[in-house]
Amino acid sequence: MQSDTVDTSCHAAIAEAVRTEARRILSDGTVTAVIGYAASRRKGSTQPIVITSVDDADKLIFSAACVNNLAVYLTKAKKDVPRSGRIGVVVKSCDLKALVGLMGEAQLKREDLYLIGIPCTGVLGSVLQPAALLTTASIASKCCECTDRLPPGCDFVPSVQLPQQPRLEQRYTDEIARLEAMSPAERWEYWKEQFSKCIKCYACRQVCPFCFCEQCLCDRNRPQMVEQTPRPAGNTAWHLVRAMHLAGRCAGCAECERVCPMDIPLNLLNRKMARELKELFNSEAGFEVRDKGPLNSYQDDDDQSFIR
């Protein structure tokens, strides 16, 4: 299949605007720190950075390799990091949804953040080759189905013109449809195969902004609810528990899937659940802070056709 290049010429202007804004908010005391992206050692690669001084603002960059969801640095799981005041954070729309979710779960307060939103042309699906061109083939699957390229409600968004996007195939939608069309036995085989690859490194958990429990149910052994060995039974239980705990909360940032060293399509499960919850309870992750997610609220007249 031929792949078209995605126009990323706006990145230079975005990076410049982010630097200028970081300088401004650090020098006038609006924030005490800015979390953003900086160049890393390999050519084209990027890494998260926290800057606290105006001089470091020049380190901030933005490119298609800025894949990380920086929301993960703001959860209670990072509570040993002292908070000294309002914090600036660079967010793409998908990252912003995670922050909004965390606000709904009382992990964060909007007034403690200064949001620097990125008009987004999409990011690389894999950063194994961070200097690769952003094309319809190398773009992350999540970006193919992204409807929010301009993050709403931010304190600052660089004013650049977003280029026209080439046509992108809806990989998750197609794959979910493919699986739904299978027989239950075929689906079981598919997931058994996928789950059995898991090595229980828990990278997916560590990178997810919503996995902030101080003690994960899956680490408990008295009583042990989920087998901890990286064997098929425990793996399946782990993935089902993960999908259930993220259901109705997952922001769809696909970080879990990106970091999985075994290429397990984690976001397929998350997206399938998001879709079901939308259908069942008309609730989905968005940019409005919700007091309660779909699985910690209820309505008297919820569907109960499956109960007798």
Binding site: M182, P184, S196, R231, T236, V241, L280, L295, F306
Partner: protein, 166 residues
């Protein structure tokens, strides 16, 4: 009152997670009224359906259950006011998840059985037992538990190559 004893080739194991206020009392009523129902069901009592975590169901299947019943108070009757409403949402979602990974939902039954419905308890348990009996043993999770080995093949060529080289 003697019911006919019948011998079956396969006796399914049914695990019932019930709330103590309604369904457990309903099952108790069935017992004290000497109603007959299949002895395949093992009852686990919980304070509320809201306490019944989906992992309990997984665990039951992994430990050899062929069918699972979750039952509590009718909407509006919850001792803790809304525990069953929360459970209703959670299980609606959990069913979708199980379905997506390929579990036959006929093995999983959700019911409302009140303290006065001894007869309904008998009906629900009998129905589920007969249905699961007809379906046969639930092997999927048991097979998984028996599989010792990391058995996935990799869909990333570079990883597969590295793995093969070990």
């Amino acid at each position: 009152m003697h019911s006919e004893k019948q011998k079956h080739d396969f006796e399914p194991k049914i695990i019932a997670f019930v709330c103590t206020w309604c369904t457990y009392a309903g099952a108790d009523l069935a017992g004290t009224s000497r109603m007959q129902y299949p002895a395949n069901v093992r009852v686990l009592k919980f304070p509320c359906t809201g306490r019944i975590d989906p992992v309990f169901i997984l665990k039951a299947f992994q430990q050899g259950a062929d069918g699972v019943l979750v039952s509590g108070c009718h909407p509006g009757d919850c001792h803790y006011i809304a525990g069953n409403f929360h459970a209703r949402r959670r299980f609606a979602a959990f069913r979708k998840l199980l379905e997506f990974i390929g579990v036959d939902l006929n093995r999983l039954q959700f019911s409302w059985v009140s303290a006065a419905e001894g007869g309904k308890w008998v009906e629900v348990v009998t129905d589920l037992t007969e249905r699961v009996r007809a379906m046969g043993e639930m092997v999927e999770f048991k097979d998984l538990a028996l599989e010792e080995q990391w058995s996935g093949s990799l869909n990333t060529p570079e990883l597969q190559e590295a793995y093969d080289a070990i």
